[in-house]
Protein backbone atom coordinates (compact mmCIF):
# COMPACT_ATOMS: atom_id res chain seq x y z
CA UNK A 1 0.00 0.00 0.00
CA UNK A 2 2.76 2.35 1.01
CA UNK A 3 4.68 1.44 -2.11
CA UNK A 4 1.66 2.12 -4.33
CA UNK A 5 1.08 5.49 -2.68
CA UNK A 6 4.74 6.30 -3.19
CA UNK A 7 4.43 5.48 -6.92
CA UNK A 8 1.28 7.60 -7.23
CA UNK A 9 2.85 10.58 -5.45
CA UNK A 10 6.01 10.14 -7.49
CA UNK A 11 4.04 10.10 -10.73
CA UNK A 12 2.11 13.23 -9.69
CA UNK A 13 5.30 15.08 -8.77
CA UNK A 14 7.03 14.05 -12.03
CA UNK A 15 3.94 15.08 -14.04
CA UNK A 16 3.84 18.45 -12.30
CA UNK A 17 7.56 18.96 -12.89
CA UNK A 18 7.14 18.04 -16.57
CA UNK A 19 4.16 20.38 -16.87
CA UNK A 20 6.11 23.18 -15.22
CA UNK A 21 9.09 22.50 -17.49
CA UNK A 22 6.82 22.49 -20.56
CA UNK A 23 5.19 25.80 -19.57
CA UNK A 24 8.60 27.31 -18.86
CA UNK A 25 10.14 26.11 -22.14
CA UNK A 26 7.15 27.20 -24.23
CA UNK A 27 7.43 30.75 -22.87
CA UNK A 28 10.78 31.17 -24.66
CA UNK A 29 10.98 31.98 -28.34
CA UNK A 30 13.71 32.37 -30.92
CA UNK A 31 14.05 35.94 -32.18
CA UNK A 32 16.17 36.12 -35.32
CA UNK A 33 17.79 39.54 -35.66
CA UNK A 34 19.27 40.67 -38.96
CA UNK A 35 21.12 43.94 -39.54
CA UNK A 36 20.69 45.68 -42.88
CA UNK A 37 22.73 48.79 -42.19
CA UNK A 38 26.53 48.93 -41.93
CA UNK A 39 28.53 49.46 -38.72
CA UNK A 40 25.77 48.98 -36.21
CA UNK A 41 25.84 47.83 -32.63
CA UNK A 42 22.50 46.56 -31.33
CA UNK A 43 21.63 46.36 -27.66
CA UNK A 44 18.48 44.47 -26.61
CA UNK A 45 16.73 45.19 -23.32
CA UNK A 46 13.84 43.61 -21.49
CA UNK A 47 11.30 46.06 -20.13
CA UNK A 48 9.71 44.96 -16.87
CA UNK A 49 6.76 46.64 -15.23
CA UNK A 50 7.60 50.12 -14.09
CA UNK A 51 10.99 51.43 -15.09
CA UNK A 52 13.08 48.31 -14.46
CA UNK A 53 15.02 47.11 -17.47
CA UNK A 54 17.58 44.39 -18.09
CA UNK A 55 20.05 44.08 -20.95
CA UNK A 56 19.55 40.68 -22.59
CA UNK A 57 21.83 40.89 -25.58
CA UNK A 58 24.32 42.88 -27.64
CA UNK A 59 25.53 42.12 -31.13
CA UNK A 60 27.03 43.63 -34.28
CA UNK A 61 25.91 41.02 -36.79
CA UNK A 62 22.89 38.79 -37.46
CA UNK A 63 22.10 36.96 -34.24
CA UNK A 64 19.43 34.64 -32.82
CA UNK A 65 18.33 35.36 -29.26
CA UNK A 66 16.06 33.12 -27.22
CA UNK A 67 13.82 35.44 -25.24
CA UNK A 68 11.07 34.89 -22.71
CA UNK A 69 7.55 36.24 -23.29
CA UNK A 70 7.44 39.91 -22.47
CA UNK A 71 8.11 43.48 -23.59
CA UNK A 72 11.48 44.37 -25.06
CA UNK A 73 13.19 47.17 -26.93
CA UNK A 74 16.41 47.55 -28.84
CA UNK A 75 18.71 50.48 -29.45
CA UNK A 76 20.90 50.49 -32.52
CA UNK A 77 23.89 52.80 -32.54
CA UNK A 78 26.76 53.38 -34.91
CA UNK A 79 28.43 55.83 -37.22
CA UNK A 80 25.81 58.06 -38.88
CA UNK A 81 22.99 55.92 -37.53
CA UNK A 82 19.79 57.56 -36.31
CA UNK A 83 19.26 57.08 -32.60
CA UNK A 84 16.06 55.14 -32.30
CA UNK A 85 14.44 52.99 -29.62
CA UNK A 86 12.33 50.24 -31.17
CA UNK A 87 9.88 48.35 -28.98
CA UNK A 88 8.75 44.79 -29.65
CA UNK A 89 6.72 42.13 -27.92
CA UNK A 90 7.83 38.52 -27.60
CA UNK A 91 4.96 36.03 -27.68
CA UNK A 92 6.12 33.85 -30.59
CA UNK A 93 9.19 33.22 -32.75
CA UNK A 94 9.84 36.14 -35.09
CA UNK A 95 12.35 37.85 -37.36
CA UNK A 96 13.43 41.42 -36.75
CA UNK A 97 15.40 43.43 -39.25
CA UNK A 98 17.36 46.21 -37.60
CA UNK A 99 17.62 49.29 -39.76
CA UNK A 100 17.33 52.55 -37.82
CA UNK A 101 18.32 54.58 -40.86
CA UNK A 102 20.91 57.32 -41.00
CA UNK A 103 20.76 60.44 -38.85
CA UNK A 104 19.33 63.66 -40.31
CA UNK A 105 22.70 65.34 -40.64
CA UNK A 106 24.22 62.51 -42.63
CA UNK A 107 21.11 62.18 -44.81
CA UNK A 108 21.24 65.90 -45.53
CA UNK A 109 24.89 65.57 -46.58
CA UNK A 110 24.01 62.66 -48.89
CA UNK A 111 21.18 64.67 -50.42
CA UNK A 112 23.36 67.62 -51.44
CA UNK A 113 24.83 65.81 -54.41
CA UNK A 114 21.45 64.36 -55.50
CA UNK A 115 18.96 67.18 -54.85
CA UNK A 116 19.21 68.83 -58.26
CA UNK A 117 18.85 65.58 -60.19
CA UNK A 118 15.91 64.48 -58.07
CA UNK A 119 14.08 67.78 -58.61
CA UNK A 120 14.74 67.59 -62.35
CA UNK A 121 13.42 64.04 -62.41
CA UNK A 122 10.19 65.06 -60.68
CA UNK A 123 9.75 68.00 -63.06
CA UNK A 124 10.27 65.73 -66.04
CA UNK A 125 7.84 63.07 -64.80
CA UNK A 126 4.75 65.15 -65.55
CA UNK A 127 4.61 68.41 -67.55
CA UNK A 128 1.88 69.81 -65.28
CA UNK A 129 4.17 69.69 -62.27
CA UNK A 130 6.64 72.25 -63.54
CA UNK A 131 3.89 74.48 -64.91
CA UNK A 132 1.64 74.64 -61.87
CA UNK A 133 3.85 73.72 -58.92
CA UNK A 134 7.03 74.65 -57.14
CA UNK A 135 9.07 71.56 -56.39
CA UNK A 136 10.45 72.08 -52.92
CA UNK A 137 13.71 70.68 -51.66
CA UNK A 138 12.92 67.48 -49.81
CA UNK A 139 14.51 64.99 -47.48
CA UNK A 140 16.14 61.60 -47.69
CA UNK A 141 14.80 58.91 -45.37
CA UNK A 142 15.98 55.50 -44.21
CA UNK A 143 19.51 54.79 -45.35
CA UNK A 144 19.24 57.39 -48.08
CA UNK A 145 17.21 55.06 -50.27
CA UNK A 146 13.93 56.99 -49.95
CA UNK A 147 13.32 60.59 -50.96
CA UNK A 148 10.25 62.65 -50.19
CA UNK A 149 9.32 66.18 -51.07
CA UNK A 150 6.36 68.50 -51.47
CA UNK A 151 4.82 70.39 -54.36
CA UNK A 152 3.22 73.75 -53.66
CA UNK A 153 0.97 75.57 -56.05
CA UNK A 154 2.57 78.48 -57.92
CA UNK A 155 -0.78 80.27 -57.72
CA UNK A 156 -0.99 80.05 -53.94
CA UNK A 157 -1.11 83.31 -52.05
CA UNK A 158 1.86 83.58 -49.68
CA UNK A 159 -0.22 84.07 -46.52
CA UNK A 160 -3.16 81.89 -47.46
CA UNK A 161 -3.35 78.17 -46.69
CA UNK A 162 -3.14 76.02 -49.79
CA UNK A 163 -3.09 72.33 -50.59
CA UNK A 164 0.27 70.78 -51.26
CA UNK A 165 1.14 67.44 -52.71
CA UNK A 166 3.72 64.90 -51.57
CA UNK A 167 6.05 62.99 -53.84
CA UNK A 168 7.88 59.80 -52.87
CA UNK A 169 10.89 58.27 -54.65
CA UNK A 170 12.83 55.08 -54.05
CA UNK A 171 16.38 54.20 -54.98
CA UNK A 172 16.71 50.69 -56.35
CA UNK A 173 19.86 49.31 -57.87
CA UNK A 174 21.40 52.79 -57.73
CA UNK A 175 18.54 54.28 -59.75
CA UNK A 176 15.87 56.62 -58.43
CA UNK A 177 12.28 56.02 -59.45
CA UNK A 178 9.05 57.85 -58.67
CA UNK A 179 6.45 55.90 -56.77
CA UNK A 180 2.97 56.66 -58.06
CA UNK A 181 1.51 60.09 -58.56
CA UNK A 182 1.87 63.04 -56.17
CA UNK A 183 -0.71 62.81 -53.39
CA UNK A 184 -2.09 65.04 -50.65
CA UNK A 185 -1.45 62.20 -48.23
CA UNK A 186 0.17 58.77 -48.54
CA UNK A 187 -1.90 56.45 -46.38
CA UNK A 188 -0.94 53.11 -44.88
CA UNK A 189 -4.06 51.31 -46.26
CA UNK A 190 -3.22 52.55 -49.78
CA UNK A 191 0.48 51.68 -49.49
CA UNK A 192 0.97 48.65 -47.25
CA UNK A 193 4.19 47.86 -49.17
CA UNK A 194 5.94 51.04 -47.98
CA UNK A 195 7.40 50.99 -44.45
CA UNK A 196 5.19 52.91 -42.03
CA UNK A 197 8.16 54.89 -40.78
CA UNK A 198 8.86 56.19 -44.30
CA UNK A 199 5.20 57.15 -44.86
CA UNK A 200 5.15 58.88 -41.51
CA UNK A 201 8.19 61.02 -42.34
CA UNK A 202 6.84 61.81 -45.81
CA UNK A 203 3.44 62.88 -44.46
CA UNK A 204 5.06 65.12 -41.88
CA UNK A 205 6.98 67.15 -44.47
CA UNK A 206 5.70 70.67 -44.29
CA UNK A 207 6.64 73.03 -47.13
CA UNK A 208 6.19 75.96 -44.76
CA UNK A 209 9.28 74.82 -42.94
CA UNK A 210 11.17 72.84 -45.56
CA UNK A 211 13.04 75.13 -47.92
CA UNK A 212 12.96 77.58 -50.73
CA UNK A 213 11.45 76.06 -53.86
CA UNK A 214 14.18 74.21 -55.69
CA UNK A 215 12.90 75.21 -59.12
CA UNK A 216 13.14 78.88 -58.17
CA UNK A 217 16.79 78.49 -57.36
CA UNK A 218 18.15 77.08 -54.16
CA UNK A 219 20.30 79.22 -51.87
CA UNK A 220 22.71 76.28 -51.48
Amino acid sequence: MKKTALYVYGAIIISLLLLFAFIRISSFHKIAFTISQPNLKVEVFRQFEGTKTEKVGEFTQATDLTLENGSYYYIASGENAAVKVTKFEVDRAQKIDVQPGFDQEYLASLLKSEQEALTAMIAKSNPRIDVYFNINNGKLFGIGDWYGTTLTSKQAEPNQPSDFYRVLMKKEGGQWKLLGKPKLIWSVPDHPEIPRDILSQLNKLDPTFVTTPASAGSPD
Binding site: S162, Y165, L184, S187
Partner: protein, 208 residues
Protein backbone atom coordinates in the same frame (compact mmCIF):
# COMPACT_ATOMS: atom_id res chain seq x y z
CA UNK B 1 -60.16 -4.14 -46.64
CA UNK B 2 -57.55 -4.81 -43.98
CA UNK B 3 -55.02 -5.83 -46.62
CA UNK B 4 -55.55 -2.66 -48.64
CA UNK B 5 -55.19 -0.57 -45.47
CA UNK B 6 -51.88 -2.31 -44.76
CA UNK B 7 -50.77 -1.60 -48.33
CA UNK B 8 -51.90 1.99 -47.97
CA UNK B 9 -49.92 2.29 -44.74
CA UNK B 10 -46.82 0.82 -46.39
CA UNK B 11 -47.18 3.19 -49.29
CA UNK B 12 -47.58 6.10 -46.90
CA UNK B 13 -44.42 5.09 -45.04
CA UNK B 14 -42.47 4.76 -48.29
CA UNK B 15 -43.65 8.19 -49.45
CA UNK B 16 -42.94 9.59 -46.02
CA UNK B 17 -39.38 8.25 -46.11
CA UNK B 18 -38.88 9.50 -49.66
CA UNK B 19 -40.25 12.92 -48.77
CA UNK B 20 -38.02 13.12 -45.69
CA UNK B 21 -35.00 12.07 -47.76
CA UNK B 22 -35.80 14.62 -50.45
CA UNK B 23 -36.35 17.33 -47.88
CA UNK B 24 -33.14 16.38 -46.07
CA UNK B 25 -31.27 16.24 -49.38
CA UNK B 26 -32.60 19.65 -50.37
CA UNK B 27 -31.62 21.01 -46.95
CA UNK B 28 -28.10 19.58 -47.29
CA UNK B 29 -27.84 20.88 -50.88
CA UNK B 30 -28.90 24.37 -49.83
CA UNK B 31 -26.59 24.33 -46.82
CA UNK B 32 -23.65 23.24 -48.98
CA UNK B 33 -24.31 25.70 -51.81
CA UNK B 34 -24.93 28.58 -49.38
CA UNK B 35 -22.14 27.74 -46.97
CA UNK B 36 -19.97 30.78 -46.33
CA UNK B 37 -22.23 32.99 -48.42
CA UNK B 38 -24.10 36.07 -47.30
CA UNK B 39 -27.70 36.78 -48.18
CA UNK B 40 -27.59 40.18 -49.87
CA UNK B 41 -30.61 42.19 -50.92
CA UNK B 42 -30.37 44.29 -54.04
CA UNK B 43 -32.71 47.29 -54.20
CA UNK B 44 -32.82 49.67 -57.12
CA UNK B 45 -34.83 52.54 -58.45
CA UNK B 46 -35.79 52.43 -61.28
CA UNK B 47 -36.12 48.68 -60.72
CA UNK B 48 -35.76 47.91 -64.44
CA UNK B 49 -32.27 49.44 -64.64
CA UNK B 50 -29.59 47.10 -65.97
CA UNK B 51 -27.69 46.01 -62.88
CA UNK B 52 -24.47 44.01 -63.00
CA UNK B 53 -22.49 42.37 -60.23
CA UNK B 54 -18.93 41.58 -61.34
CA UNK B 55 -20.21 41.72 -64.92
CA UNK B 56 -23.14 39.35 -64.33
CA UNK B 57 -26.56 40.81 -65.03
CA UNK B 58 -28.91 40.65 -62.04
CA UNK B 59 -32.25 42.05 -60.96
CA UNK B 60 -33.40 43.53 -57.66
CA UNK B 61 -33.95 40.71 -55.17
CA UNK B 62 -32.13 38.40 -52.79
CA UNK B 63 -28.82 36.75 -53.64
CA UNK B 64 -26.43 34.48 -51.75
CA UNK B 65 -23.01 35.94 -52.41
CA UNK B 66 -19.49 34.87 -51.52
CA UNK B 67 -17.79 37.56 -49.42
CA UNK B 68 -15.37 39.39 -51.71
CA UNK B 69 -14.61 42.41 -53.82
CA UNK B 70 -17.43 43.27 -56.20
CA UNK B 71 -17.93 45.77 -58.96
CA UNK B 72 -21.51 46.98 -59.01
CA UNK B 73 -22.97 48.91 -61.92
CA UNK B 74 -26.46 50.09 -62.75
CA UNK B 75 -27.52 51.94 -65.85
CA UNK B 76 -30.61 53.09 -67.68
CA UNK B 77 -30.96 55.49 -70.52
CA UNK B 78 -31.85 58.95 -69.27
CA UNK B 79 -30.35 58.35 -65.81
CA UNK B 80 -26.90 58.85 -64.26
CA UNK B 81 -24.96 55.57 -64.31
CA UNK B 82 -24.05 54.05 -60.95
CA UNK B 83 -20.56 52.59 -60.51
CA UNK B 84 -19.03 51.30 -57.33
CA UNK B 85 -16.50 48.73 -56.22
CA UNK B 86 -16.35 47.44 -52.67
CA UNK B 87 -15.98 44.40 -50.47
CA UNK B 88 -19.24 42.72 -49.59
CA UNK B 89 -18.80 41.32 -46.09
CA UNK B 90 -20.90 39.79 -43.35
CA UNK B 91 -19.89 42.57 -40.96
CA UNK B 92 -21.91 45.29 -42.65
CA UNK B 93 -25.65 45.44 -43.42
CA UNK B 94 -26.05 43.10 -46.41
CA UNK B 95 -27.71 45.43 -48.87
CA UNK B 96 -26.89 46.96 -52.21
CA UNK B 97 -29.07 50.02 -52.61
CA UNK B 98 -29.04 51.86 -55.88
CA UNK B 99 -30.81 55.09 -56.73
CA UNK B 100 -30.22 56.43 -60.23
CA UNK B 101 -30.68 60.20 -60.48
CA UNK B 102 -32.78 61.19 -63.50
CA UNK B 103 -31.15 63.29 -66.21
CA UNK B 104 -33.49 63.40 -69.21
CA UNK B 105 -36.87 65.12 -69.09
CA UNK B 106 -38.65 61.81 -69.49
CA UNK B 107 -36.66 60.30 -66.63
CA UNK B 108 -37.37 63.34 -64.45
CA UNK B 109 -41.09 62.94 -65.13
CA UNK B 110 -40.88 59.26 -64.21
CA UNK B 111 -39.00 60.08 -61.01
CA UNK B 112 -41.67 62.64 -60.09
CA UNK B 113 -44.45 60.11 -60.66
CA UNK B 114 -42.54 57.46 -58.67
CA UNK B 115 -41.39 59.57 -55.77
CA UNK B 116 -42.38 56.83 -53.29
CA UNK B 117 -40.00 54.34 -54.93
CA UNK B 118 -37.16 56.88 -54.67
CA UNK B 119 -38.08 57.66 -51.06
CA UNK B 120 -38.10 53.94 -50.16
CA UNK B 121 -34.58 53.40 -51.51
CA UNK B 122 -33.40 56.64 -49.89
CA UNK B 123 -34.69 55.30 -46.55
CA UNK B 124 -32.83 52.01 -47.09
CA UNK B 125 -29.62 53.90 -47.93
CA UNK B 126 -30.01 56.03 -44.82
CA UNK B 127 -30.69 53.01 -42.56
CA UNK B 128 -27.72 51.10 -43.99
CA UNK B 129 -25.47 54.14 -43.45
CA UNK B 130 -26.57 54.46 -39.81
CA UNK B 131 -26.30 50.72 -39.05
CA UNK B 132 -22.88 50.42 -40.72
CA UNK B 133 -21.56 53.52 -38.96
CA UNK B 134 -22.65 52.17 -35.57
CA UNK B 135 -20.93 48.85 -36.26
CA UNK B 136 -17.71 50.60 -37.32
CA UNK B 137 -17.64 52.90 -34.30
CA UNK B 138 -16.40 50.17 -31.94
CA UNK B 139 -13.18 49.56 -33.90
CA UNK B 140 -12.52 53.17 -34.85
CA UNK B 141 -12.43 55.61 -31.91
CA UNK B 142 -12.01 58.59 -34.26
CA UNK B 143 -15.66 58.15 -35.23
CA UNK B 144 -16.67 59.68 -31.88
CA UNK B 145 -15.29 62.99 -33.15
CA UNK B 146 -16.93 62.78 -36.57
CA UNK B 147 -18.49 64.34 -38.49
CA UNK B 148 -16.23 67.33 -37.99
CA UNK B 149 -17.41 70.38 -39.81
CA UNK B 150 -16.57 74.05 -40.14
CA UNK B 151 -17.26 76.53 -42.92
CA UNK B 152 -14.24 75.36 -44.92
CA UNK B 153 -14.49 71.58 -44.77
CA UNK B 154 -16.40 68.58 -43.52
CA UNK B 155 -14.78 65.32 -42.40
CA UNK B 156 -17.02 62.25 -42.19
CA UNK B 157 -16.58 58.51 -42.60
CA UNK B 158 -18.00 55.43 -44.24
CA UNK B 159 -16.93 51.77 -44.46
CA UNK B 160 -13.57 51.38 -46.18
CA UNK B 161 -14.67 49.81 -49.50
CA UNK B 162 -11.33 48.02 -49.81
CA UNK B 163 -11.32 46.42 -46.36
CA UNK B 164 -12.10 42.70 -46.74
CA UNK B 165 -13.28 42.42 -43.14
CA UNK B 166 -15.57 45.45 -43.23
CA UNK B 167 -14.12 46.76 -39.98
CA UNK B 168 -12.12 49.77 -41.13
CA UNK B 169 -13.30 53.19 -42.14
CA UNK B 170 -12.58 55.54 -45.00
CA UNK B 171 -12.50 59.24 -44.20
CA UNK B 172 -14.34 61.50 -46.60
CA UNK B 173 -13.01 65.04 -46.72
CA UNK B 174 -15.23 67.54 -48.46
CA UNK B 175 -13.21 70.74 -48.52
CA UNK B 176 -12.94 73.85 -50.60
CA UNK B 177 -9.81 74.01 -52.74
CA UNK B 178 -6.80 74.91 -50.67
CA UNK B 179 -8.28 73.59 -47.42
CA UNK B 180 -7.73 69.86 -47.85
CA UNK B 181 -4.35 70.06 -46.17
CA UNK B 182 -5.96 72.01 -43.32
CA UNK B 183 -8.50 69.21 -42.87
CA UNK B 184 -5.64 66.69 -42.60
CA UNK B 185 -3.98 68.94 -40.04
CA UNK B 186 -7.19 69.01 -37.98
CA UNK B 187 -7.31 65.20 -37.91
CA UNK B 188 -3.86 65.31 -36.26
CA UNK B 189 -5.14 67.94 -33.86
CA UNK B 190 -7.97 65.58 -32.93
CA UNK B 191 -5.31 63.08 -31.85
CA UNK B 192 -5.31 60.74 -34.85
CA UNK B 193 -2.86 60.16 -37.65
CA UNK B 194 -4.62 60.70 -40.99
CA UNK B 195 -2.24 58.28 -42.73
CA UNK B 196 -3.88 55.41 -40.81
CA UNK B 197 -7.03 55.81 -42.88
CA UNK B 198 -7.94 55.54 -46.52
CA UNK B 199 -8.95 59.06 -47.44
CA UNK B 200 -11.34 60.14 -50.11
CA UNK B 201 -11.22 63.80 -51.08
CA UNK B 202 -14.66 64.65 -52.42
CA UNK B 203 -14.59 66.33 -55.86
CA UNK B 204 -10.80 66.36 -56.04
CA UNK B 205 -9.71 66.98 -59.62
CA UNK B 206 -7.03 64.59 -60.84
CA UNK B 207 -4.13 66.91 -61.53
CA UNK B 208 -1.48 64.38 -62.40
Amino acid sequence: MFESLQEYKRLLIIFGILFTLLLGGYGIFMAVTRAGKIEYTVNAVPSDATITLNGTKIQPGKYFLEPGYYTITAAKQGYTTHNEARYLTATLRPEINISLPPVSDEAKRWAKDNKTAYDDVAKLISTKTTVDKNRLAANNPITKKLPFQNYLYRIDYEPDPKDPKGEKIQLNIDAVTGQRTSALYIIRQLGYDPMDYRINFVDLTELF
